[in-house]
């Protein structure tokens, strides 16, 4: 009996001593151990980068950082783009958010309202970027755009050569002529993988960014606030955008909505198709599929005036009224690893990481002083920059919030798939849907 009591007492002591509130003040050894474990951090990073080139960069960047900071490691989780926003919101609402994630804060104002995103306004490394990350209406910075993203037409140079096309089209008529030339040689002019719906959106982006964005920074906001309409807006000729996009669709391979983004890229890599209209991550993707491919790029030629066909990039808002939070890398404000993440963000703002980004992701880094000679496919971009064909579109927003975005995408899909292609009726219908949603939001 005595033995049993002694055993129970010993066990109780052990349990009590394990409880933090009941243990004795720790000695030197345990203090050192606890400090060491405090410094150790595993940064969780949720992203939607599916492309091998982008994944490679993330691997190299995190490895380079961990080499300098052995106590900080990473746990990366990839979620496909279509499910990414929903999962992120669920995780935030459940208090189970990753330390790092990227998001469009203007599409998700609730993130700031709820205090989910960390305020990075006072970080000294913000000045390391070519364009300082945008400060929103409250003057605070919550998202860091670490790359210079743009949309355009990416093409297989060898296929252009085969079709006898010696220079890239600079106007819409030239683009149409080149499509005809390609078709006459049995080559599909454009590869479209609209089964992944975001690629259709990118094709529209490429067009709108050239045709509308340079002179209409707050167009999206005005549409959402119902201050302007889709139809009959002399400043934004959506009628022509629809007609051009119908042309793109008709000059794509069979069944664009049944073709994935991956399959569309394969068509360009194998030379079956000549062009693909998408974002600045495309060259890296194509080169990952075939390192020997000669990729080139040019702005979507929406105008007959060559000087208006430019690569468009976001920057700071041109007027205070249009101040925006933008899209980029965000940090979870309630993360227990905020200090470690800030350390990594500072690394992301260095030339070392910028060059890694350009080398592996094959995209332009937003960090000042990075190499301009990282990939031959970007030669045309730097030429365009020299010739004044890169436009700063300030706070122009490409996407619409929540239900409006679905209404927009569904309407554009139905327009492309319709037989009559009635652009005027489509824009009228889109206006009616935006009005209805705006009323529902009141």
């Amino acid at each position: 009996m005595k033995k049993r009591i002694a055993l129970i007492a010993a066990a109780a002591l052990m349990v009590l001593s394990a409880m933090p509130g009941c243990s004795k003040p720790s000695g030197t050894t345990s203090e050192t151990q606890s400090k060491a474990s405090e410094q150790k951090a595993v940064i969780t990073w949720m992203h939607h980068v599916q492309e091998e080139s982008g994944v490679q960069y993330m691997k190299k960047s995190t490895e380079a950082f961990t080499k300098k900071n052995p106590n900080i490691t990473f746990e990366l989780t990839m979620v496909p783009q279509d499910n990414y926003p929903t999962l992120l919101k669920s995780k935030l609402a459940a208090g189970d958010a990753p330390d790092m994630f990227d998001v469009d804060l203007d599409q998700n104002p609730g993130f700031i309202k709820s205090g989910y995103v960390y305020d990075m306004s006072k970080q000294p490394w913000l000045h390391n970027f070519i364009t300082e990350p945008p400060a929103g209406p409250d003057g605070k910075v919550y998202a860091i755009p670490t790359s210079i993203a743009f949309f355009g037409v990416f093409y297989n140079k060898d296929v252009f050569k085969t079709a006898g096309i010696s220079s890239t089209p600079t106007t819409w008529s030239e683009f149409q002529q080149d499509c005809s030339k390609l078709k006459s040689k049995g080559i599909i002019p454009i590869a479209s993988g609209y089964k992944d719906l975001w690629t259709m959106t990118c094709s529209f982006h490429a067009d709108k960014m050239t045709a509308i964005a340079p002179n209409y920074e707050d167009w999206t906001k005005q549409l959402e606030d119902r201050k302007v309409t889709w139809a009959n807006n002399p400043k934004a000729d959506m009628n022509s955008v629809l007609k051009r996009q119908a042309y793109v669709y008709d000059n794509s391979q069979k069944d664009p909505f049944g073709t994935t983004w991956d399959a569309a890229q394969d068509l360009v890599v194998t030379g079956k198709a000549a062009m693909i209209i998408n974002g600045s991550w495309t060259p890296g993707n194509l080169e990952t599929k075939d390192s020997k491919i000669n990729v080139g790029m040019f702005p979507f030629p929406s105008s007959e005036d060559a000087s208006k066909n430019v690569f468009a990039i976001n920057g700071n808002a041109k007027t205070k009224a249009n101040a925006y939070y933008g899209m980029g890398q965000c940090v979870y404000s309630k993360s227990k690893n905020v200090d470690a993440v800030m350390k990594y963000m500072a690394f992301r703002a260095t030339v070392e990481d910028g060059n890694l980004y350009q080398q592996y992701a094959k995209q332009l880094s937003a960090v000042k002083g990075c190499s301009s000679d990282f990939d031959p496919s970007y030669k045309e971009w730097f030429d365009a920059q020299k010739n004044g064909l890169v436009a700063d579109i300030g706070a122009f927003r490409r996407d619409y919030s929540g239900q409006l975005d679905t209404a927009y995408n569904n309407t554009m899909t139905n327009f492309l798939m319709s037989k009559d292609r009635n652009a005027a009726a489509t824009l009228k219908s889109l206006d009616a849907q935006f009005d209805k949603i705006a009323n529902l939001n009141k």
């Binding site: 279509d82 929903t86 609730g110 709820s114 069979k254 069944d255 909505f257 049944g258 569904n410 529902l440």
Partner: protein, 292 residues
């Protein structure tokens, strides 16, 4: 004294039997009942699903009233009903066909039973991936047809095919249970009376397995009406919203559009609609059931 001992024994036996229900009750409570009751509050607010619920405003019946003023709700409702009808028809037709086949005595009937049931063991996400590949790569190459999932006029039927392929195994089992409970003496008497195989099936089998029909049709129809996961995995409601079922429409309001209050109100109304339909359907079939 003896009576009370018997009583204690009976209580113990009942408790043992009931204890087997505990895991189900626990998970049903966690996954269904608690969210159901917690959600009632949400339906009367303008909660966006992101900010803490305490920050949401009470809006009374506004969400419910808005639903009745929003004609857009009719489109996902129509899609859900078409999908549920196709599934109910397909699942029960193939379920019964396979059940009749595998209850016959032949060498591989057990293996066939297993093969027909196997797709039911796959998750709907996996089935969606497999069929996505079949629709986008296999069928266009073999038959030269377009991807049926990318055509607004065929997408709902194409998703139904996935559901029927993966779902008819369960009705098959219920039909097998029904078929094996029909006394063989009835068939023997029918043969003596000169009834042919079709007459035996129509006059004996069908009436006596009506209970299986009640269960299968009610479950398939109501489950299909609220389906969201398969549409989300296979089509995301596309192309152009042509496969946005009611379940997915509600999901979008709850998680995508930041209108959780509205979505929750819609979910309750749709639940009431499904309950009414389930009671009606099972009532109709119960009237036709025959006691053995």
């Amino acid at each position: 004294m003896q009576v009370s001992a018997r009583k204690i024994h009976s209580i113990k036996a009942s408790a043992t039997r009931l204890s087997f229900l505990l895991p189900t009750i626990f998970f049903f409570g966690i996954a269904m009942l608690i969210p159901f009751f917690l959600g009632i509050r949400v339906a009367f607010t303008d909660w966006d699903g992101i900010t803490p619920l305490s920050m949401a405003n009470y809006v009374g019946l506004h969400n419910f009233v808005s639903i009745f003023h929003n004609s857009d709700v009719l489109r996902p409702l129509r899609i859900a009903i078409i999908y549920a009808l196709l599934n109910t028809l397909g699942n029960n037709f193939f379920g019964l066909l396979f059940a009749v086949g595998v209850t016959k005595k032949y060498r591989f009937n057990k293996a066939h039973r297993l093969i027909f049931f196997m797709p039911a063991a796959l998750s709907s996400v996996l089935a969606a991936f497999m069929w996505n590949y079949i629709y986008s790569n296999v069928l266009p190459q073999i038959l030269g047809v377009e991807n049926y999932l990318s055509n607004p006029s065929s997408v709902v039927a194409a998703v139904s095919v996935i559901t029927i392929w993966g779902g008819c195994g369960v009705p098959m089992l219920i039909y097998i249970a029904g078929l094996t409970s029909v006394p063989s003496s009835l068939y023997e008497s029918a043969v003596i009376d000169g009834a042919n195989a079709f007459q035996q099936f129509w006059k004996i089998t069908i009436p006596l397995i009506m209970q299986s029909f009640t269960v299968n049709i009610t479950i398939t129809f109501t489950n299909s009406l609220s389906s969201a996961g398969l549409f989300l995995a296979a089509t995301h409601g596309g192309p152009g919203g042509a496969s946005e079922s009611m379940g997915l429409y509600i999901y979008n309001f709850l998680f995508k559009y930041n209108k959780a209050g509205y979505g929750q109100a819609l979910a309750y109304l749709f639940l009431a609609f499904i309950v009414v339909l389930a009671v009606l359907i099972s009532g109709i079939f119960r009237k036709r059931e025959v006691e053995m």
